[in-house]
């Protein structure tokens, strides 16, 4: 079977020229369309029809103006229409362009092939036959393969060498970040640190509202009467210039509180005997510390959360997410930024610590979570995802089934295991923004906030677990700032409108309700049978936590007060806006 192969190699000059011309023209056309389409593509990718800067600016302006401006409405509609139209037009252009391009490519291909066909390169014996130098070529190929393999290997090894090993092992990761954050290369004294246990905490005022955080102070020799003006029973008084609403915490002879404004975050330590400043540390910037702090409301401020003292360290957290650990001599042990909280009032939940862990209720708008960090290094121990934002502080209560960490947020009251963050129980009884922390007495956890009713949750211990059920509710005068207090059979709630109500813990019956001239921001504290409630004017109302209202004393300091006082060893430490006070029976200034 013979086929005429020679016709494959016939030259047709005119046809060749024609097809070459078509190929050239279509090639040019392709190039032009490509350029146009790339330009169009860049535009369309960057473009969301309603996210045009002009339109967005107009919308923002529209949102700012209080009433409905018809002119602006018309402008928005016109601009919106235009940009949508532009979007659809460029979309159509892109589609048309793609089709044109495809068509042109087909024409280009066919004409190019025809050009090649009509001007064939006829076969002929090669000028220099490739059969020569076979062995040399083989050797060259071999060498080239070895060479390129080596280049590949070196490139791979170099790439590996210059790729930082991103993930250090779990524990190491935590430690190194702690060391980095501490800003020096000395390893923190990790091995030597032993942290206090519950019995130790009982002897101190380690956190917001005392040990466990539910407002119970030791009864022994708590001063009953004092007067700021005359100095009666005032051991010392130190002027402060430290913005921040957090409450003082006391451990041994050291009193701590923090302070912050837009630019500076500080931790202060005072001598409890003399009232002298022991040290004051300005927090350094940690990795992630924002240059400007997030917006906070004036009545929350940049240092709302109370510190926690957990010998040998103290911890402070601020509105920008900075968390720092100092030792009692003021040396920074570790610090980090937890991520800037997204919080429209400002982060307010106080810290609490238990044995070797530090707990942070980091309930923010974005990614709310409960963090447990190793107290010695700041390494994450565990983390629990939460649902809602909150400004309340955690409390720790002791149950026969073990200690529990109780958190309140917009909807739920949740109890977690301290060791691993297991959710022990949850009760849905809140609704809306919550700042008051839970109270606890006689198997009952009490939460209140002024959007919903206050609820008492009855706990029932089984062998290794606890069940919780909401029992009674109270929806009359409700607190929005000060935390309620459980004392004996009663719950005491002080409101920012100046009411104090006493409820029966078991039944929810209201025993009495008293009106005061000033509101309460500081949380009432129980010492023995007495309740100490500090109003915003700085007057301490002392009354019995009983079914009948009986005022025991009313003591004035003459300075505005927001922070909850600290009670320890027969003294009361009060942070007012301008002063730090120490009240002790029998002391004269």
């Amino acid at each position: 079977m013979l086929r005429n192969k020679s016709r494959n190699f016939i030259q047709k000059p005119y046809l060749f020229q024609l097809s070459a011309l078509v190929a050239f023209a279509s090639g040019l056309f392709i190039l032009i369309i490509c350029v146009l389409m790339i330009a169009n593509y860049v535009q369309i990718v960057a473009m969301d029809p309603v996210d045009q800067p002009e339109l967005l600016a107009l919308r923002e302006e529209f949102a700012r103006t209080p009433d409905l401006d018809p002119v602006m409405v018309d402008r928005i509609r016109a601009l919106d229409f235009l940009s949508r139209k532009a979007y659809f037009t460029s979309q159509t252009q892109l589609n048309t362009g793609a089709r044109l391009l495809f068509g042109a490519a087909v024409v280009f291909l066919i004409s190019m092939r025809l050009a090649a066909r009509w001007n064939p390169k006829p076969p002929g014996p090669p000028l220099q036959s490739a059969t020569k130098g076979h062995w040399g070529r083989q050797a060259l190929i071999r060498e080239l393969i070895i060479l390129s393999a080596m280049v590949l290997m070196i490139a791979a090894a170099l790439a590996a060498l210059f790729t930082p090993l991103e993930f250090p092992p779990l524990e190491q990761h935590a430690q190194t970040s702690a060391v980095e954050a501490a800003g020096d290369t000395d390893a923190p004294e990790t091995a030597a640190v032993t942290f206090p246990v519950w019995e130790d905490l009982q002897k101190q005022w380690p956190s917001f509202r005392g040990p466990g955080g539910y407002g119970l102070a030791h009864a022994e020799s708590v001063p009953l009467k004092w007067d700021g003006e005359s100095g009666k029973n005032i051991r010392w008084k130190t002027a402060l210039d430290a913005p921040g609403f957090n409450s003082p915490v006391v451990w041994g002879d050291s009193l701590f509180f923090s302070s912050a404004d837009e630019t500076k975050r500080t931790v202060h330590c005072y001598d409890t005997d003399s009232g002298e400043l022991k040290w004051m540390q300005v927090l350094p910037s940690f990795p992630g510390t924002p240059e400007t702090p997030p917006k906070v409301s004036a009545d929350t401020g940049y240092a709302a959360p109370t510190m926690v003292a957990h010998y040998p360290y103290v911890y402070a957290i601020f509105a920008n997410g900075d968390l720092a650990c100092y030792d009692f001599s003021g040396k920074l042990i570790w610090g980090k930024n937890l991520g800037v909280p997204e919080n429209h009032y400002g982060h307010a939940s106080s810290l609490i610590a238990w044995e070797n862990l530090l707990y942070i209720q980091y309930d923010q708008k974005k990614n709310p979570r409960l963090l447990a960090l190793k107290a010695d290094t700041g390494a994450p121990a565990w983390e629990v995802q939460r649902k809602k934002i909150s400004w309340a502080s955690p409390i720790i209560i002791q149950r026969t089934s073990g200690p529990q960490l109780i958190l309140a947020s917009e909807k739920d009251v949740d109890a977690y295991s301290l060791s691993d963050g297991t959710l022990l129980w949850t009760v849905q009884c809140l609704d809306g923004e919550v700042a008051p922390s839970p109270a606890y007495t006689r198997d009952r956890v009490f939460v209140g906030q002024d959007y919903a009713a206050a609820t008492a949750i009855l706990l029932h211990d089984e062998e290794s677990s606890t069940t919780a059920e909401a029992t009674w509710e109270w929806d009359d005068s409700l607190t929005d700032i000060a935390s309620p207090l459980g004392i004996g059979d009663y719950f005491i709630m002080a409101t920012s409108r100046g009411e104090i109500v006493c409820l029966n813990a078991e039944t929810g019956e209201d025993h009495w309700l008293e009106d005061f001239d000033e509101g309460f921001h500081a949380s009432p504290i129980a010492a023995g049978e007495l309740v100490y409630a500090l109003d915003v004017a700085g007057d301490m109302h002392v009354f019995k936590g009983a079914s009948d209202y009986e005022l025991a004393a009313r003591n004035s300091l003459g300075d505005k007060a927001s922070a909850t006082p600290a009670f320890l060893n027969g003294r009361i430490y009060i942070r007012t806006h301008g002063y730090l006070w120490c009240v002790e029976e029998g002391a004269e200034q």
């Binding site: 919308r59 949102a63 409405v73 589609n95």
Partner: protein, 184 residues
């Protein structure tokens, strides 16, 4: 001749290995799979609109009417800070104007997606998930999807919501009974 024998041998070996692979790998019952979004996992990042190999995207918003609240103040339809319920551009959320609002009765409004306009950006889905019943959600439209071997959206999906599902159950509807939805 020996060469030919060696080739025959190697050929037989290759064929054996091939059929070994076949026996090992194939699942005779395996149904063809297609890509679909699990609405429970979707975070409405907006990548479905831009990452699909076809333009506009094969992902579109669908509406499960039985779980819709028929709200007047619809978080999927109106801008978050809309000043009025006007249906003009100053209040509408959808960048493509693909949602139609019709009054049904009393305070109830029906919202209908115009699939032809929808680009699958998920803005309304986010609004509905945040403020409403979550009756709007993204699904791959079967007739538009070209069913790539490696879905370009799945590759970029931040939450792993784009999954392979069997062809016979190729929509993951919120009105489906639970358990029927693979991956939940």
């Amino acid at each position: 001749m020996s060469c030919l024998n060696r080739r025959d041998f190697l050929r037989a070996a290759a064929a054996t290995v091939g059929s070994g692979i076949a026996l090992q790998a194939v699942q005779p019952g395996a149904e063809a799979t297609v890509w679909q979004i699990d609405p429970a996992l979707c975070v409405q990042c907006g990548r479905c609109a831009t990452n699909c190999v076809i333009n506009p995207s094969a992902v579109k918003c669908i509406h499960s009417y039985p779980i819709c609240g028929y709200c007047d103040l619809c978080g999927a339809y109106l801008q978050p800070a809309a000043k009025n319920r006007d249906t003009g551009a100053e209040s509408q959320l959808c960048p493509m104007s693909a949602i139609k609002r019709t009054h049904i009765e009393g305070v109830y409004y029906q919202y209908t997606i115009d699939e032809a306009l929808c680009v699958g950006c998920g803005k309304c889905v986010k609004g509905c998930a945040m403020f409403g019943n979550g009756s709007l959600y993204l699904q791959v439209q079967r007739d538009l999807c070209v069913n790539c071997n490696d879905c370009a959206i799945a590759r970029e999906c931040p939450s792993g919501a784009m999954q392979r599902v069997p062809l016979s159950r190729s929509y993951l509807l919120k009105t489906d009974p639970p358990g029927e939805v693979p991956g939940t």
